[in-house]
Structure formats: structure tokens, C-alpha cells
């Protein structure tokens, strides 16, 4: 079933490749500065590299917005986003894959009664406005020194031509990398929590995490879109909508790429944090809007004449229309998928203050006797979804209580039993012998909470404990835990 469900993500990837490659190489190809074949090859290679090497940052933010926990649900989320993109394109509206996927995830949250994290949502929406603005700022700050340098250097028209060609190719390669790193989350992000993959190692040196394998597939889909359909779009974008000189095109593409890079680079975000500056939110942003932002920046610098204010209005309206439309399409389609086609669009996540959780509440920072008293009537009461449980907690502890998210984390039910059959399904090449031994000793045991299972593993062996200061090990440990949990639960269902 997996390939069928993944198909919607691949379709979304294909349409992203067909549309957004034109942002990166459109002007270069349409002005015949770079051949289409060269552009397509460079774009495909760098999109895939970007997706695999730098794609995880932005996808985590999408994951926080809503963890789509069933394959059929993920399929519909991606399909709704793709349909929205398609419909908006037909209606000639400027459309962003990022906004469509965010809308679709919110639609899934609404359908399943999951909570849409308001912090993540506002962070994402802020970046939509920041993206074209930042792109304009980058373009302007590049335009001034480059124009000055060209004037001062008195380069020959042919030398300038060669330099511009190379500049366009390099900017295109960087742009493709940034596009892959930033936008792969749109294409494959929703499948990350549900895909039953684990690490694969090639030649004992290159290891691809499940996320990277998915991103690689998505990158291939984008590359297919670039090769099969982007030529037409490139010609339209490059020659029709905005007419730019090759040097202006270089500036615009570079500014766009920088913006996409800024919103997807974990390293840059970490660096800023380390020097005391605020972290950059890692969010998928719209490549088309970054381009338009940069063009407007250059346009404003040249006096503002020739700026298409209608396009600007269209973008602003699409900030609202695209996510709402995707959200509605997703909600309605999920209803049909579940009730007409009998597919599991989500795994219900129930909540309960079990005795184990009750004990835990006492240890939480800020909890007291009064907390237990306030929650007294919720004891062993089962709640069908996050939304209802959250409302119940907020009614008793207050809406702003810092305890609410902490209690919710502990109270999430995820019951399963470890069976011999399930343990046999685990890939023994992926887990070490020591790690496997512990898992085998747990056969026959049942767990009601995921955190409890992790705790037992940690208590039983050094191998499962996180190591202070060893980020690589801790990341790997998290991936292994997720794989182990997914496999054991799938077998016990």
C-alpha cells in the first residue's frame, strides 16, 4: 500500500519541480543564457542534494504543527495540497506549495480533533510575510554594490556576459539546493511520522535516515517535474511575467536562494543562537513569493515604475485563500476517504490520567496538592482526542497554566504489547546486539504510554540511555526508538 499512499506526495513533488524550477532558472533559460538541459541537470542534482542533506529543519516545524499519524491521512493531506496548487494555478492565482500543505495539515488537525500548535502556526504565518520582504531587502542590498562594481570595473560586454552566465549557473545551483532543502518538507514532511523505514548504510560510510530516504524519493519526484514539465513554465516566467536583464536575474535568484537557505539551515540557526541572536524559524516558505519579493525590491530601487501591484495584491490574498482552500479540501476529502473508502485516516490518540501519570504529575515543576485536587474528577477518565483533553485540563488548571502541555505529553495513550512475533520483525542489522538483548527481555510486557517504554529501556541498559554532549548519538538514539516503537506497535495491532 505504501507506494499508493506515497503517490500523492510524489505528485506534489512533481508539480513543485515543474513550477518552482522556473523561479530558479526561468530567466536564465528564457534569455538563452543557459541551455534548458544544463539548467535541468544542475537543478535536479542540487534539489536532491538539498533535500537529502538539508531538508530536515523545515520538516520538523511542519511536524510540530500536526503529526499526521496514519498513511492514508498523510496521503490525503499531500493530495489536498497538490489539488489546491493545481486549482489555484488553473485560476491563475500565485500559489505556494508551502501555504497549501500548512492549510491541509490544519484541515487534518480539525478533522481528527488534534491540536494545531498556535505557536508553530503563527511562526509559519509570520515567515510567509517575512519571506518576500526579506527577499526584497537582500535583492536591494546586493543590487547597489553589484551595480557600482560593474560601473567601476569597466568590464567588456563579453567578459560581463561570461561572468553573468557563470553567476546564473552558480546562483541556480545554490537556488536549487535551497529549494530542495526548504521545500522538500512540503512534499514529504507529512510522511515522515508514518513511513515504516529505517536507516540504510551504503558502503559502510553513507547512512541515510528514514527521513532522508523519503526526501531522496521526493527529490527524485521534483527532478522528474523539472525535466518533464518545467521548460514551458520557465519560458513563461522568464519572458512573460517579469522582464529582467541577466544581471538583475542573477541578483533576484541569489536573493531568493538566500531567503530559502536562511529558512532551512539548521547550522545558520544554531550559529545565530550561539552568538546570542534569536533563532531563525525553520519553515518551508514560498519560492515564487521570494522571487516576486526580490523583483519588487529591485523595482522599488529603480523608482517603483513598472511594478505590478496587482501581482502583489494577488500574493497577499493568496496568504489567506490558499491555506483556507487546502484546509477545506483536506477536511472534506478525509471525510470521504474515511467514510466511503473505509481507510484509516488517523490513528485516534486518546488521553487518560492513568495511575502512572497521576504519580508523575506530582513530580512536575509547579505542581502541588492543589493540582491533584483540581484534576480529581479526571482520574482514569478517558478522552477521545487531544482537543477535548486539553479543554478539560484548561477548565481545571486555567488556560495559561504551564502544566497543561506537560501533563498532555504524559497522558497520551499509546498502548501495545511486546510479542515474540513483533520482536522477530525488527531488523537486527540496524540495532546493536546489546540493544536487541534488552528488547528481547521485555517480551510479554504491555505498555500504556510510550514514555514509559522508553524509561524501561533506559533503566535496563546503558545502550539506550542518552549521552551528554554527544548530539550525533542522541539523534541516532531517537531515530532508533521511533523505528522500534513503530515496528512493535504495528505488529501488535
Amino acid at each position: 500500500m505504501l507506494p499508493v499512499f506515497l503517490s500523492s506526495g510524489l505528485f506534489l513533488g512533481w508539480s513543485l519541480g515543474a513550477n518552482d524550477a522556473s523561479n530558479v532558472f526561468g530567466t536564465a533559460v528564457a534569455s538563452r543564457m543557459v541551455k534548458f538541459r544544463t539548467a535541468a541537470i544542475i537543478c535536479s542534482v542540487f534539489v536532491i542534494i538539498g533535500a537529502v542533506a538539508g531538508g530536515s529543519g523545515a520538516s520538523h516545524t511542519l511536524g510540530k504543527l500536526g503529526a499526521v499519524n496514519a498513511l492514508a491521512g498523510a496521503f490525503m493531506v499531500a493530495l489536498s495540497a497538490a489539488l489546491t496548487v493545481y486549482l489555484m494555478t488553473v485560476a491563475r492565482y500565485p500559489v505556494s506549495t508551502s501555504q497549501a500543505i500548512v492549510g491541509a495539515i490544519v484541515g487534518w488537525n480539525l478533522f481528527t480533533g488534534s491540536i494545531t500548535d498556535p505557536a508553530s502556526l503563527s511562526k509559519i504565518m509570520m515567515t510567509w510575510v517575512a519571506c518576500p520582504a526579506l527577499s526584497a531587502i537582500f535583492a536591494v542590498s546586493m543590487y547597489i554594490p553589484i551595480a557600482y562594481a560593474i560601473k567601476r570595473l569597466s568590464l567588456h560586454i563579453l567578459t560581463l556576459d561570461t561572468m553573468t552566465r557563470w553567476g546564473l549557473i552558480l546562483a541556480g545551483a545554490f537556488g536549487s539546493y535551497a529549494l530542495g532543502a526548504n521545500n522538500i518538507a512540503n512534499v514529504m514532511g507529512v510522511f515522515v511520522p508514518v513511513a515504516p523505514f529505517h536507516d540504510i548504510t551504503f558502503f559502510d560510510t553513507i547512512t541515510l535516515s528514514p527521513e532522508q530516504q523519503l526526501f531522496f524519493l521526493g527529490g527524485l519526484a521534483i527532478a522528474t517535474g523539472v525535466f518533464t514539465y518545467s521548460r514551458q513554465v520557465m519560458m513563461t516566467v522568464g519572458a512573460g511575467i517579469v522582464r529582467l536583464s541577466p544581471i538583475a536575474a542573477f541578483i533576484v535568484v541569489t536573493a531568493h536562494s538566500l531567503v530559502l537557505f536562511v529558512f532551512s539551515s539548521q547550522e545558520l540557526s544554531n550559529f545565530l543562537h550561539s552568538v546570542g541572536l534569536p533563532r531563525i524559524p525553520l519553515v518551508p516558505v514560498s519560492s515564487s513569493q521570494a522571487i516576486v519579493g526580490a523583483v519588487i525590491g529591485v523595482g522599488l530601487l529603480k523608482g517603483g515604475g513598472g511594478i505590478r501591484w496587482r501581482t502583489l495584491g494577488g500574493i497577499a490574498s493568496s496568504w489567506v485563500t490558499t491555506p483556507i482552500m487546502a484546509s477545506v479540501v483536506c477536511f472534506v476529502s478525509l471525510f470521504f476517504l474515511q467514510n466511503v473508502f473505509n481507510q484509516q485516516t488517523y490513528r485516534p490518540v486518546e488521553y487518560e490520567l492513568t495511575p502512572m501519570v497521576w504519580e508523575r504529575i506530582a513530580t512536575l515543576p509547579g505542581a502541588s496538592e492543589a493540582t491533584h485536587e483540581a484534576l480529581d474528577d479526571m482520574w482514569i477518565e478517558r478522552y477521545p482526542n487531544a482537543q477535548e483533553f486539553k479543554t478539560a485540563l484548561e477548565n481545571r488548571l486555567g488556560e495559561t497554566s504551564p502544566l497543561v502541555p506537560l501533563i498532555m505529553e504524559y497522558a497520551e495513550l499509546d498502548a501495545f504489547r511486546i510479542t515474540t512475533k513483533a520482536v522477530n520483525k525488527i531488523d537486527r542489522n540496524y540495532l546493536t546486539d546489546e540493544e536487541m538483548d534488552i528488547v528481547e527481555t521485555l517480551v510479554g510486557q504491555a505498555f500504556t504510554h510510550r514514555w514509559r517504554f522508553v524509561e524501561v529501556l533506559e533503566e535496563s541498559s546503558e545502550a539506550w540511555r542518552p549521552k551528554k554532549g554527544d548530539d550525533e548519538f542522541n539523534k541516532e538514539r531517537k531515530r532508533k526508538l521511533k523505528y522500534l516503537f513503530d515496528t512493535l506497535r504495528a505488529a501488535s495491532e
Binding site: S31, R32, A147, S154, I157, L158, D161, P246
Partner: protein, 216 residues
Amino acid sequence: MAFGILKKQLGLQKQLDEFLNQVSEASLLLRQGVDLFLSERESAFDEKLEQITQIEHRGDDMRRAIEKKLYIKTLIPESRGDVLQLLERLDSLLDSCKAMLWQFKIELPDFPEEVHGELRDLTSHSVESVEAIVRSTRAFLRTSPEFADHIHKVSYWETESDKVSTRMMMALFRREDLSLCHKAQLKDFIRRISRIADKAEDVADRLSIYAIKRML
């Protein structure tokens, strides 16, 4: 690959420079030729005529070679049309210089002694305008800040040549010692020499537009 492109590009730059040299040389030969004709030094004049004819051939060949390269290698796609048009207009200017000298050779016009000085001035002004347009073109190709200065000089020399030609023709038609037929022939020469400056100014006008287009 990068080295190959650089080599091709340097070769083409050289060819463009040489082509401009031919245009400039043709205008200088025109000045010398007119001077020699007026001084009645026939063999030296023939020599210049031979030289300018060769230059015109070479110029044509170069222009074609440059055009071919620009198209085949799809170089400067954005301003290729402009550059090609520019080369053609400059080539036509070169042709005018050659045709002018040949007209002297064919018609052997009889300029009265007292207009020789002014005819030399007229030719010199037209030649200066051609020189200025060649310098403007070089500045345009190099995005040099001196471009505006050179372009301005083309207009200056064109105005000067206009003044001289009008003055010469007025004086010519007020003379009573020449037949109307003779006057008409001399007028044609004066007009054609001054036309060279006009043509140079036309090229300058186009060049200014290309330069605006080329700005970022």
C-alpha cells in the same frame, strides 16, 4: 570548459576591437584622400583608395565572422540584436567613407581653390565624428563611464560639419563664375561628406538607447 569559453571570448573581443580599428582607419584615410586629391597628388591618392577598399573588404569579413560567432555561441543573448545592429551601422559608415573617395576618383570634381580650406575642414569634422563614434562604441562595449563624453562629441562634430556645409553651399550658389551643373555636382560632394557626420550621429542616437537598455 571555463578556459575554453574565456579563450573564445577573448578572441571575439580582439575581433571587435580590430573591426573598430578598421572603421577608424577608413575615416582617417578619407581625410588623407581628400587632402591628396585637393593637392592633386594622384598616385598617393590612388594608394589611399586602394587601402580603403581593402579595409572595407576586411571590415565586411570581420563583421560577418563576429555575427556568426555571436549567433553560434549564443553570446550576449540579451544585447546581441543591439550589438549586431551597431556593427552593421558602423560598417555602413565605413562603406560611406570608401564610396566618398571613389566618387572623387570617378567624377574628378573641380573645387575652386578658395573652398579647399573649407572642404578640408568639413572632411575633418566628419572624420572627427566618426572617430568619436568609434570611441563611444569602445566605451559602450566596456561599460566605461567615458561613454557619455564621447557620445556628446559626436553631436558636437556633426553640428560643426553642418555649419560648414551650409556655409559652403550658400557661398557656392551665390557664385556667378560656375555653371549650375558644376554647382550641383559640388553640392553633391559637400552633402555626401556632411552626410557621414549625420550617419555617425544616427549611430550615436541608437547607441545611447542601447546603453540605457543595458543599464541593470
